[in-house]
Amino acid sequence: MQTAHTVEHAHAHDTHEEHHHHEETFLTKYIFSQDHKMIGKQFLITGIFWGIVGGLLSVLFRLQLGWPNETFPFLETFLGKWAEGGKISNEFYYALVTMHGTILVFFVLTGGLSGTFANLLIPYQIGARDMASPFINMLSYWFFLAAGVVMLFSFFVQTGPASGGWTAYPPLNGLRDTSVNLGSGIGFDLWILGMSLFIVSALLGGLNYVATVLNMRTKGMTMMKLPLTVWALMFTAVIGILSFPALLAGAVLLEFDRLLDTSFYLNNIIINGQLLGYKGGSPILFQHLFWFLGHPEVYIIILPAMGLVSEVLSVHSRKPIFGYKAMVLSIIAILVLSFIVWAHHMFVTGLNPNLGAIFTLFTLLIAIPSAIKVFNWIGTIWRGKVRLSSAALFAIGFVSMFITGGLTGIALGNSAIDIQLHDTMFVVAHFHIVMGVAAFFGMFAGVYHWFPRMYGKYMNETLGQIHFYITLVGAYAIFFPMHFMTGLPRRYYTYANFETFNNFDSLAAFISVAAIIVFLGQLVFVVNFFYSIFKGRELKGEKKADGYEYANPWGSTTMEWTAPIDRLHGNWPNEIPAVHRWPYDFNVNGKEFIQQTEPLKPGETEHS
């Protein structure tokens, strides 16, 4: 090993004199970093920022939904003309709903989740020194940041940010006329620009993730020895690579309509009695292009969470994952099915009912791999010695949320039922639980579990538990009652004109109170996270002959804990260890766990 080290040194000396005495400056280490671990942290912290913004937007519109007749004078202080007299204006309400969706779906649960954990875990867990192209990886973060800056900027233009729904449907969003919708002005152009930058970021990142997993695994790391996190993150990237281009195509057509007056989506539009010149377009075309990304997008969000949860549950219950191969096959099945179900978002567009039946069938088929995964997670913790750490609690919470939200998915996947429930609070409850809250739980499980890997410190466990219970109870308090707000349409500014919905007033106020508490509960996490970076309990390990300190705080089998606590660029100071066994050897041969890098003993057979 010492020889390999010297060779590496000599090589660095030969070709790049400046690398040998390379002094990392603040700029190269923290800002323009090409190190996968640092880029992962950049994604995470940017994601946390967006999580706070997106959550705050929902608190604002919950104020309106919970107490539509009250005024909150402090709102006018902060929001000015958007909340005159302390009441959020209807234009701004729609902007809040739109931007809440955009920010949480793309900037937190796609960029923040995949970006963080694919960057952190893929090289570490497959035994690679970095991504296939560290430079492109850096660009991926910078495009992500630029996308965010554009989105943030759009809040400060005179006509406000995009307000035509996060799905950006034309014709509402196809015209730049602000007399129809304030947010259809420059705000929506910035939305398209921001989303295009975001798509570039997701693609650059995704190419790297897949190329890295397929090409750069360490010796002995066959595909079937990969931890489920890596499987999930890789297939997430594959979905992104194949589906984001469709959204980009849809967005390009939309901007052509808006800026160059083409009619891809517009037809016979009449505004103020004036017939506009658009002819022959179809708004449904946009829905097809949008949902060809939009549906796979929900798996882009949930698959990484599934991967993280599989790993966390196995490690913290000290048991091998139940049904490893079934887990991998389920991920592949979800990937394939995710591309052929998009029209289940479009059952009320006049879709041919026969076609609807086919999409219903494919949609319901997704229940099979999903149920297999749920069964396997329960099988994993069943009779395990579960350590109820914050990470494990959030992983278990994920399974709970995924079951609750999944069950309503079966109802909504049927076109006959969906036509009744379309655009009601039932749908809001379904997707928030199954992909919003659940994905957040997976992300939190991952952050608590891998925080020591990222920063060499622990997060505070007590605060973690408080965070968990507030979030679990609070999230159910917010979204469970929504199932029973029968027929209540979503996205409405006020229901005052509908006698029939009067009886939901107190329930709406209850949901709003719960939303505010859950939002404050997340601040516990934010404080814990940043406090722990600087003042958290130190991760202690043993010093080995090479002078580096090594630690394996959770007793994991995977490769990320075979690297020193110090986050070196290149991860391992010596040769990368080879892999000899699958990643879930818990409680075998009389040992509590055996790391992947440990050779098989004589007479021991490989897990298959």
């Binding site: 090409q34 190419l207 281009p245 980009l248 009619s263």
Partner: protein, 208 residues
Amino acid sequence: MEVTLSEKDILKQKTEYTGVHPQKFALWLAMASMTMFFAALTSALLVKKGDFRAWENFRLPNVFLFSTITVVGVSATIHAALICYRKTKFAAFRWLMFASFVLAVLFLVLQLIGWLNLQAMGMTLTGTISASFIYLITAAHGAHIAGGLVVMLIFLVFAVKERNDPLYELRDIINPKRQLNLEMLASYWHFVDIVWVYLYIFFVMNYQ
């Protein structure tokens, strides 16, 4: 004992699993992504053509046939350039790269003439949706060509600038980074050329 690794060191890692350099592999994935982009655009056209009774049909200007021939020419010359490079015939390599560059620029000029011809036929960008699609798709493809042109130009500039240094290209053969980049550039061009041939056939079939 701080070991700081350059990108090159990191890439010394094995590529035995797929037998392909990871960056080349990433380029292939990018091609899959770009394929989906053009598939989305052309299927949008088909959907529109199918549901819009007033779809206005017209004959594609002939100039697009010439641009197709030109773009196939780029593929041929850049492939020949790559072969010359491998055989260390650097003078021929530079000329072939120059020829590829000229042909690629010519392609964009011909596309522009195609647009002017469409205008002359009365098929403006906003006039009818069937024409809008041609402008849109050729513009999207042209943007991909322009991106390839920039990289090609960088290659050419270095090749010409260092032409008197007998070691410049040779050193790069011993150290295969430049050859890898050239191979990736050539595959990218083959890709955008094939995309155009597909688009041309697609247009001919849908506009008569």
